[in-house]
Each structure stands twice: as structure tokens, then as C-alpha cells.
């Protein structure tokens, strides 16, 4: 089968730095972080700053025209908002959807409701409609069903690389000729479940996170959703839609080191980035910017640094982690950061890595402030998950042949 170029013809994003692409773009250009004291999540852990989407569930439901009393979850509501923006940009409506695939990544799924009603499920039976909204697949179906009938759907759950892996599956489906358009991405809200889980692992910072900084002490949780429309060149030409970029390469590897820690040499990260670059048929020197996974934990940033240093051998392109803007949006981070990379590519800027102060031993030095008027051709976007699920995506400026 001849290789089929895959174009990106739409993107939608909801995050702590904006509820759509325009909002996110302004925040990045003006260097406004979305990390703030906890406002929406009902938790006792007020000491941890987070990157919450600045909308209540009720407000999101109203924006989407969902009647009061309909069982929904925060993850599915954010997902619907992001999906709407992506479909609109790609000029896809409900009549197109039977030919369109939808692949979504999530790990907490409907846990926000389960953790409120779990004891009720066990003994009271007044909230049983939320038993059905618990699992990851239910979340994807709720998001999809809001817009019509997609041709096929499925859900990926590889923790913090879920959305990136959704991009890879969607691209493989197009390359195989099994679909012409696949909408991919992920959605994840902050829950008490994983806030407490990450706290028990002692990887949350009580101050704003500082990826790659010597003083980094952990991550700030974030939340949000982003979906990207992948489309074959033939389909995009036939429909006459504009392309934001080309998805030129992707790689997936497993660190195979530890359930919750990265290897000291970042082998999985190295393999994922290398595979993406090789698939794109370019050299590492042609990468103009890396949006790092850069969580702000001592372990991740050191491990990722080793991988980048090895792969780029002294010629490291500008690197930043936008998690100091958005917080770590876990399962959604792959597509949220890919959407940020799309904005950077289109608008000629590189997002910064605020709060970085001091170089750390063995760790790369990121760009700190947003760099304006920078035109790059190729961008690498990393997402690494618990369990060593490491993925890297490579987007390039689409130049019409």
C-alpha cells in the first residue's frame, strides 16, 4: 500500500488556560498560567495548586444544551466541548459521522461521580445511573453520542499517554485504508481518586510546578480535553478543507522498567522519539521544537533529559514543558499538548516553560519565556505514562505538493 499522508484538519481544546483554541493561544502568547488554588474539586487537599478548567459541570452542560438531570461526568462534558470545536473546524456534521472514527483516551473515566456516590451504589441505590457512567468506554460513548453516530469508536487507557496513543491508532487506521477521517484525542478531569493517588506517591508539588528546574519538586494536576481530526490527503482535498499540519511520524515504546517510575536512562522515551523521527524520514537536526512530557517530577524530567540528550547529541532544539501552564492533564495531555504544538506551528511561536529558574545536574535547559516570531517546520510532542507507556508524535508544516 502506498504511504498515505495524514493531515490534521481540525482541533478542539478545553483546558485551564482556555476553553477553545483562541483562549489557549492568547494565554500562551501572554504567558498566563492556568494553575491556581483548587476551586471546583471537592477535596480536603487545598494545599495543592491545580490546573482546573474554569467551568462547573453545570455551566458546561448548559453550553452544550444538555438538559438538567442527565447523567454526565466531568470528563465527558469537557470532551464534548473539545470535540465540538474540532468537528466544527473540520466542517464535519452529523451526516458525515458514520464514515468517521472516534478514538478517545481516558483513565479515570467517570471516577468523579463514582467517588461521590460509591457508598451510595453499595447501599442506597439512589445514584445507580452513575454506575453505568463509571468505565472508560462509557465516557467515550457519551462524548460520541452527543454528536450523532460515528463509524467506529474505541477507548485507549495507557494512563498519561492515552491521548497520544489514540492519535497513533487513528493514523494506523487511515494508513490501512480502513478510514479516511478519524477524530482522536483524550479527556480527563481531576478526581480525588488520582489527586490522592499521586499524593500518596509523593509526586505533587505544593507550589507551581517547575519542569526541568533544579528546584522542581513534583507535578500539578491539570484537566481538560482535546481532539484532533486526522484525515487522509485524498479526503481533505475532496472536501476542500484546510490542513493545519501533517502528522508525519509517531512512535510508541515501553520503558519496561517500573510500574510508576521512569528508567534512569530514559530508554523508552528515547525509543519512542527515535521511532517517530525515523518514520517521518527526517534527521533529529530537523526538529525545531520539542514539547516535552516534562511533568516536573525529579524522576521524569531527569529520565526524559537523558533520552533527549542521547537522541539529539549536543544539538538539542528548543524544549519546553507546557505543563507549567496547563498542569499535568494526564490522559488528555497527549492531545492537549499536540493542539498546543499545532497552535505554535501555525502562529509562529514557541511556548515557554515558566517558573524555571536554575539548571539541574544532568537535566536539559528549557526555553523559559514564550519565543515569538519563530518559524519551525517539525515539532516533536512527548507523552509518557505510568507503566512506561511512552509515545512521541511528530507534526510538520504541511506544504502543498
Amino acid at each position: 500500500m502506498p504511504d498515505r499522508p495524514i493531515l490534521i484538519t481540525g482541533a478542539g481544546i478545553v483546558s485551564s488556560i482556555g476553553n477553545d483554541k483562541q483562549g489557549v493561544l492568547s494565554s500562551l502568547l501572554e504567558e498566563r498560567s492556568g494553575i491556581a488554588p483548587i476551586e471546583y474539586l471537592k477535596t480536603g487537599h487545598k494545599e495543592f495548586p491545580v490546573g482546573e478548567v474554569k467551568l462547573s459541570d453545570k455551566e458546561m452542560a448548559a453550553m452544550l444544551g444538555i438538559p438538567d438531570g442527565t447523567p454526565t461526568t466531568r470528563t465527558s462534558l469537557m470532551g464534548m466541548l473539545a470535540l465540538k470545536e474540532a468537528l466544527d473546524q473540520a466542517s464535519l456534521d452529523s451526516s458525515d459521522l458514520p464514515e468517521v472514527g472516534f478514538i478517545s483516551g481516558t483513565t479515570v473515566g467517570g471516577m468523579d461521580m463514582s467517588e461521590q456516590f460509591y457508598l451510595d451504589f453499595l447501599s442506597n441505590d439512589t445514584k445507580n445511573e452513575y454506575i453505568k457512567t463509571h468505565d472508560c468506554g462509557a465516557c467515550t460513548e457519551m462524548i460520541a453520542d452527543h454528536f450523532g453516530t460515528f463509524g467506529f469508536i474505541t477507548t485507549i487507557s495507557t494512563a498519561c499517554s492515552s491521548a497520544a496513543n489514540a492519535v497513533i491508532l487513528g493514523a494506523n487506521a487511515i494508513k490501512n485504508g480502513l478510514a479516511e477521517i478519524v477524530v482522536v484525542g483524550g479527556s480527563e478531569c481531576i478526581t480525588k481518586f488520582h489527586l490522592n493517588g499521586f499524593n500518596s506517591l509523593m509526586i505533587l508539588d505544593k507550589e507551581n510546578c517547575r519542569p526541568f528546574c533544579d528546584t522542581r519538586a513534583g507535578l500539578n494536576l491539570g484537566e481538560g480535553a482535546a481532539y484532533i481530526v486526522l484525515e487522509s490527503l485524498e479526503s481533505a482535498q475532496r472536501r476542500g478543507v484546510q490542513s493545519m499540519a501533517e502528522l508525519k511520524g509517531y512512535g510508541n515504546a515501553c520503558d519496561a522498567f517500573h510500574q510508576t517510575a521512569s528508567s534512569p536512562d530514559g530508554e523508552g522515551a528515547y525509543m519512542a522519539m527515535k521511532e517517530a523521527i525515523e518514520m517521518a524520514g527526517i534527521s533529529p537536526a530537523e526538529i525545531g521544537y520539542i514539547n516535552a512530557h516534562g511533568t516536573g517530577t525529579p524522576n521524569n524530567d531527569h529520565s526524559e533529559s537523558q533520552a533527549m540528550k542521547r537522541l539529539f547529541a549536543g544539538k538539542l532544539p528548543p524544549v519546553s514543558s507546557t505543563k507549567s501552564f496547563t498542569g499535568h492533564t494526564t490522559s488528555a495531555s497527549g492531545s492537549i499538548e499536540l493542539a498546543i504544538c499545532l497552535l505554535a506551528l501555525q502562529n509562529g511561536f514557541l511556548p515557554g516553560n515558566p517558573n524555571w529558574k536554575k539548571e539541574a545536574d544532568g537535566v536539559i535547559v528549557p526555553i523559559t519565556g514564550t519565543l515569538h516570531n519563530v518559524k519551525v517546520k517539525n515539532i516533536l510532542c512527548n507523552s509518557f505514562g505510568f507503566g512506561g507507556n511512552d509515545s512521541s508524535l511528530l507534526i510538520s508544516k504541511w506544504e502543498r505538493v
Binding site: 487507557s157 490501512n176 490522592n196 510508576t260
Partner: protein, 344 residues
């Protein structure tokens, strides 16, 4: 031209006797709403220290995977892809229960660390030192099918030459109660709710393979027209005639709404072949469809269709050339998997 993909080995731990095919001749019969898997002695796969640290779902996944890898003669798979509807639900519940009852003060990381869905694939990678492609699917009753579809697509693209594909779900008594309340499990006339651990090794090597995976498709809320077209495409691309299909394997489970959907799909597909079930012996679980493929692969490899599996129609004599597997989840997601005899 693309290389065909074969199932080399298929292993299970379920409510039938583990790591063997005794279910073909003498299935274990249950008269309860819910039961847990019949576990093998894990000592042959794990040290006692390792076993103590792992939940049931992990031990089973490791045992079926290691056995499938070992029997396949392949040293290391080039991809590890897992489907799991609920992931490590036992650990998830333990952490959730502690959070809800005792609050946020004294939670320990132990259960959280093994609560994510991808814990299974990750453990398999760590244990087998496999650093290649590793992904986990969690989409209700098509979790396993999604994993298989992913692997199949990568074979088609020539990205991999072997893959370990698994379907793993455990079911705790408390979560069974919740799913019973939701009407998913344990309803009137429904088969027993069980647990599933299935591992299959896929390869491009034909020698000693059980069967070929000829085609796979996943659909969402399909119309009759779409089902018809999909079946036509699958048959055409795999060079299989309607009459080559010796049996249709479905996920009927005694629940009326679930079973009617299968009748409708079969009618639309216009294939006349005996219908076979597997959930009457393996029970219902989110990754039961993995056991369906496992059973069908063994049927085709042995050229035998066990009488107890046939619920409609009669077996024709002669060679079993192909089997069509149909699976659906809540009548929304529908999958088709077409497997064929390696000699066909």
C-alpha cells in the same frame, strides 16, 4: 502484498479449568449468578514474593501470557496489546473504598499503583523485558476486539511480525453487585458472570499456526446496510465464500435484548451457518469476546465444533474452512472477526 496473520497459540484462565482445553469435552457447569476463575498454581510462573505483590488479574495475565509465549516458540513479542473493560478493578475498589470511608488523610500508594488499566500490559513488558509497542484498550465488551484490531492493523502495515494480544478482566463480589444493579450482569436467565484471562500470540509465521485472522472490523451503532457492506468487504478481501463459513460464533448470554441483537446482525449478514455460543461455559465478562476467539481458534485448529456450543442450525460435514465471530456491547459497538483454516 500483505503477509497473512496467524494465531499461533491461545491460552486461558477462566471459570473453566485453566490453561487447558478440557471445556471442549467436559465443561464445568455452573448454577450460580457469579463465580470467580479457577486459578492454576501460579508457582510455576511466579516466585511467592512476586505473587504476593500482585492482584489476581495480574497473576492470571502473566500466566496465560507466559504460557502463550513459551508455546509459540517466539522469544519476545514485537507488541503487547491488552484489552480490559474495567482494568485492575480490585485495587481500584480498595483505593476507592478507603477514600470514601476513611477520607483523604491516610491513603497508601499500594493499591493506587496497581489500579490503572495499563498496569497489566506494563507488567507483561517488565516481566518479559519487551520494550516494543505497548497499548491498552478499555472499551466495555469490545476491549479485547480493539486490542486485536490494533495488532491486525500493524501487521497489515508491516510494522510488526508478532504480537501478544490479551483480554483480561477480574470481577469482585462488590463490583458484581453494582453491575447487577446496572443490569449488565446477573439478570434473569443470564449466564453466569465470570472472569477472563486470555492471551493469544499472533505471528506472520504459518508453521504450526492454529488459524489465520483473515479480517476484522469494528462498527458503531451500524445500520443494516452498513453491516451488509462490511461483511461483503471482509469476505472479498479475505477470499472467503459465504459457504466456507462453517459456524458463526456469537456472544449470546441469555439476556433477551443482548441475544436479539445477534439474531438481527446474522440475518443482515445473510450467512447460513450453525450458530455457536461460548458464554454458557465461559460466563459473561467485559473481555469474554477474547474467550470466544480463543474457543473458535481451538475449534478450527482441531477441526471440531463441540455440540454443546451449537445453539442454532446443524453442523455440516467436511472441512471447517472459516468461522465468523460476531460480538457486540450494549447493542452499540459491533465487531466482526473472520478466522480461517491455515490450509484454506
Amino acid at each position: 502484498m500483505r503477509k497473512p496473520v496467524y494465531i499461533k497459540t491461545a491460552e486461558q484462565i477462566s471459570i473453566q479449568r485453566p490453561l487447558c482445553e478440557e471445556w471442549i469435552e467436559a465443561p464445568v457447569i455452573y448454577d450460580v449468578k457469579y463465580t470467580r476463575s479457577l486459578d492454576p498454581d501460579f508457582k510455576q510462573f511466579l516466585s511467592p514474593i512476586e505473587a504476593r505483590r500482585m492482584g489476581k488479574i495480574l497473576k492470571r495475565a502473566l500466566a496465560t501470557s507466559l504460557r502463550a509465549i513459551e508455546k509459540s516458540g517466539i522469544q519476545q513479542p514485537q507488541a503487547i496489546i491488552t484489552g480490559t473493560g474495567l482494568g485492575c478493578i480490585e485495587n481500584t475498589e480498595l483505593f476507592l473504598d478507603a477514600l470514601c470511608r476513611e477520607g483523604e488523610e491516610f491513603l497508601k500508594p499500594t493499591h493506587f499503583m496497581q489500579s490503572t488499566h495499563n498496569t497489566i500490559s506494563s507488567l507483561l513488558a517488565i516481566h518479559t523485558k519487551t520494550r516494543s509497542y505497548n497499548v491498552t484498550y478499555a472499551h466495555k465488551g469490545i476491549s479485547f476486539d480493539s486490542a486485536l484490531y490494533d495488532a491486525w492493523m500493524q501487521f497489515m502495515l508491516g510494522k510488526i511480525g508478532s504480537a501478544l494480544v490479551g483480554g483480561h478482566d477480574e470481577m469482585t463480589p462488590s463490583y458484581f453487585t453494582l453491575l447487577q444493579k446496572a443490569g449488565y450482569l446477573g439478570t434473569r436467565n443470564m449466564v453466569v458472570a465470570g472472569e477472563a484471562a486470555v492471551s493469544v500470540m499472533l505471528t506472520t509465521e504459518k508453521e504450526n499456526a492454529m488459524c489465520e485472522i483473515a479480517a476484522i472490523r469494528m462498527l458503531y451503532r451500524p445500520t443494516a446496510e452498513r453491516i451488509g457492506k462490511t461483511i461483503e468487504r471482509m469476505l472479498a478481501e479475505s477470499n472467503i465464500q459465504r459457504e466456507d463459513i462453517a459456524a458463526i460464533v456469537t456472544g449470546v448470554n441469555g439476556n433477551k435484548e443482548n441475544d436479539i441483537m445477534y439474531s438481527r446482525i446474522i440475518e443482515t449478514a445473510r450467512i447460513e451457518a450453525p450458530c455457536m455460543r461460548y458464554k454458557h461455559i465461559f460466563g459473561e465478562s467485559y473481555t469474554a469476546s477474547g474467550l470466544g476467539l480463543y474457543a473458535a481458534a481451538h475449534c478450527i485448529a482441531r477441526q471440531q465444533l463441540p455440540q454443546h456450543m451449537i445453539y442454532e442450525g446443524e453442523c455440516r460435514t467436511g472441512v471447517i474452512n472459516a468461522i465468523l465471530l460476531i460480538n457486540h456491547s450494549d447493542g452499540k459497538t459491533v465487531t466482526f472477526t473472520l478466522i480461517k483454516n491455515t490450509k484454506h
